[in-house]
Structures are given as structure tokens and as C-alpha cells.
Symmetry: C2
């Protein structure tokens, strides 16, 4: 059974571009990379494996984007530390990314010198959906309308005014997943569940 | 607004009772404590704080139970490492728990010398709900019927036959949260979302 691709763009505002941080201090010196690592894991891992139809894009400081392609990913573990190590390797390889040519980091992981705009332009797929507490209820949109959706989420910081300006041009929908404001990884888990169940109808 | 308590019992099968492991190797030597830490975080943290109406109970090797009481918890961060450090401290204090007297570890965290049966007996609240892929769809049960629910989840291992025997006696419902088998922390996030939205009706 083929699922349409689900894209998740995660905006990492404080992760150091140079990758010069310790894996023992993800919540501190790594700029809350713990939260980004959880979001990547939430996007891909299930109890029995990997969602091969997911692409995740971590946009670091609107300058460098690390993409994870579930169809090619090998050995993505659910723990924060191993995922953070992959992100650090991608940041350390940043000099190898030139123009539209990515740095190859690991099977299914590549780094591109582009920010949010370039990342949105490189994805030619379904509707762009900003997950945001002020959006409409996700249940007001049929799951089928979200085929190929590109979900955009922020980390522990709000969307910046520059990001907000970009998104206002390009976002098709703003959706919220419930009345309780969640962390990005939790919102990804809920969005997956909404699509997995075809809008809470198929269990 | 007062929410009924939500309880989550997480069965940790491989976490060493002595707490003799490194925080740098949660997925290995700590017996997949990374997964347990994520479950604790999923039970409590939202983007803006702590769910004060949650109690989480980590049952380690069916012998020692570490309870977290959201109404008294201080400074629970969402990252795996800091939560794992709390669990390790609780394990190191195990000798201080005698009979029904707990070891006090941290505000809102206590350790008890009891396993699954003792933990279930100590919780006198709503229905006992096993989250399991073979259960009925969560949407077939009104959210209101889950007030005070005691959700029981396993870690990366299946429920043992001893645990299964205990649960067969005491479980009121077996529920599944969707067609995709999820990790325990993800199932907790989805269960919260179901209750937060009053059964996907209130966003």
C-alpha cells in the first residue's frame, strides 16, 4: 500500500550552524537540538520501523537544511542522542554543500545550503500546512485533502517575523491539532495519527 | 478548570534496578531508558508547562515503581537525559523505600517497593485501560468514560505472560489508538489528544 509522501519542515532557530556542541548537552549548548531530534524521530519511527513515505527537513537558522528521506534512511533510532549525532555530522559537512549540490552525510540524509524559502521551493507536492495554535481544527479538513502535505513547525521559539512573512505567502492552511499547545514532536505524532486513521475513521 | 487525573503506568523491563548505567548510553546499557524517559515526558510536558493532573508510574522489572505526581513536580524538562537522571536517582535510592514507605527523590517523585499489582492496587481511580494493538478503537469509547483512566503501556518489549495474567484480571478495556503500531510515548501523546479534545470534538 503506497502512502502519499508526508513532509515535515522543522525550523531550528538556535542550533549552532558549525555543529560545535556536545551530545551531552543537547538542551543547552546545542540550542535545543533535543527537541529537533525528537521531532525527526516522531516524523519517522513507529514501533516496528520507519515511515518510508516521510521526508523531514530541518532548517537550521534559515541557512542550511538537512533533509531526511524515509525511503533511503538506514538505522534511524528513536533516541535523541543518535539522531542529534546525525544532525551534527550534517552540520560539520556544511562546507561540502555547494549551490544546489547537497552534502551527502548518511544514507537518506543530505545537507543543502538553503533556508525556508529554498526548502519550500524544492518540495513540489501537496498543500503547505502551518501547524499553529491559531489555526482551524485539523478535523475540519478531510484527511484526503492533506495528501502530500508539507507541514511546517517551529521549535521552542515562535515563527520569526521573516518566516511568518514567507509563510503568509505560501501556506495553504493553518491547522491546530487540539486545544492544548504541544511541542513540535507531539504535534507531528498527532498529525500522523490523523492521517493514519483517515481522519479518525479507520482504526 | 479541573481535569480528572490521568494515570500512565509504563512497564520498564530492562532498566537495571541498581541504576548502574551511564546517561550517555540510555538506549544500550540503561535498558532502553531513553524510551521510558520519552514516555514520562509525553505524559507531562506541553509546550507551555506541565500537565498537573497526570500521575506517571514507571514499574521497573516488576519490582520497584517510581511515581511522578504532576501536581508537585518541579522542573521536569522534555529532554531524555534530564528525565533519565531523575529515574537513576530514584533507582539509587531504592534501599530507602521500606514497605509502604516511599523513598523521596525529588519534589513530586517517589519510589515504592512494589510491582505492577501493587501499583494497580495503590491507584484507586477510573477504568484500567491497556493500550494494545489488539484492542478496540479508542474512538468507540466516549472520552467521558475515560475520566480518571489508568493507562497501562509496555516499553519495547511485549507485556510478559505474568503481566498479561495480572492485566486480564484487572483491565476494564483494551484500546488501540490507530492502525499503525506506535511507541509508548507516541501512544500517550495520542491518548492525551483524544481526551484533550473530548473525543475529537473540542479543538
Amino acid at each position: 500500500m503506497d502512502s502519499p509522501t508526508r513532509h515535515f519542515i522543522c525550523l531550528a532557530h538556535d542550533v549552532p550552524l558549525e555543529g560545535d556542541f556536545s551530545l551531552d548537552d543537547l538542551a543547552g549548548g546545542a540550542g535545543r537540538l533535543d527537541a529537533i531530534a525528537r521531532s525527526i524521530a516522531a516524523a519517522f519511527v513507529t514501533s516496528h520501523g520507519i515511515r518510508t513515505y516521510v521526508h523531514a527537513h530541518v532548517v537550521v537558522q534559515d541557512a542550511y537544511t538537512i533533509t531526511f528521506d524515509g525511503s533511503e534512511l538506514r538505522r534511524l533510532n528513536p533516541d535523541e542522542r543518535s539522531t542529534a549525532a546525525l544532525v551534527r555530522r550534517a552540520l560539520e559537512s556544511r562546507e561540502e554543500a555547494i549551490g544546489a549540490m547537497p552534502a551527502d552525510i548518511h544514507p537518506g540524509v543530505a545537507g543543502y545550503r538553503r533556508g525556508l524559502v529554498g526548502t519550500l521551493e524544492a518540495i513540489d507536492d501537496g498543500p503547505v500546512v502551518q501547524l499553529h495554535e491559531d489555526g482551524e481544527a485539523i478535523v475540519d479538513v478531510a484527511a484526503g485533502e492533506l495528501a502530500g502535505a508539507v507541514f511546517v513547525l517551529s521549535d521552542h521559539r515562535e515563527f520569526s517575523s521573516a518566516e511568518q512573512a514567507v509563510l503568509e505567502d505560501r501556506v495553504d492552511r493553518r491547522l491546530r491539532v487540539g486545544p492544548t499547545r504541544l511541542h513540535a514532536d507531539q504535534a507531528i505524532t498527532v498529525a500522523h495519527n490523523y492521517l493514519d486513521t483517515d481522519g479518525y475513521t479507520a482504526f
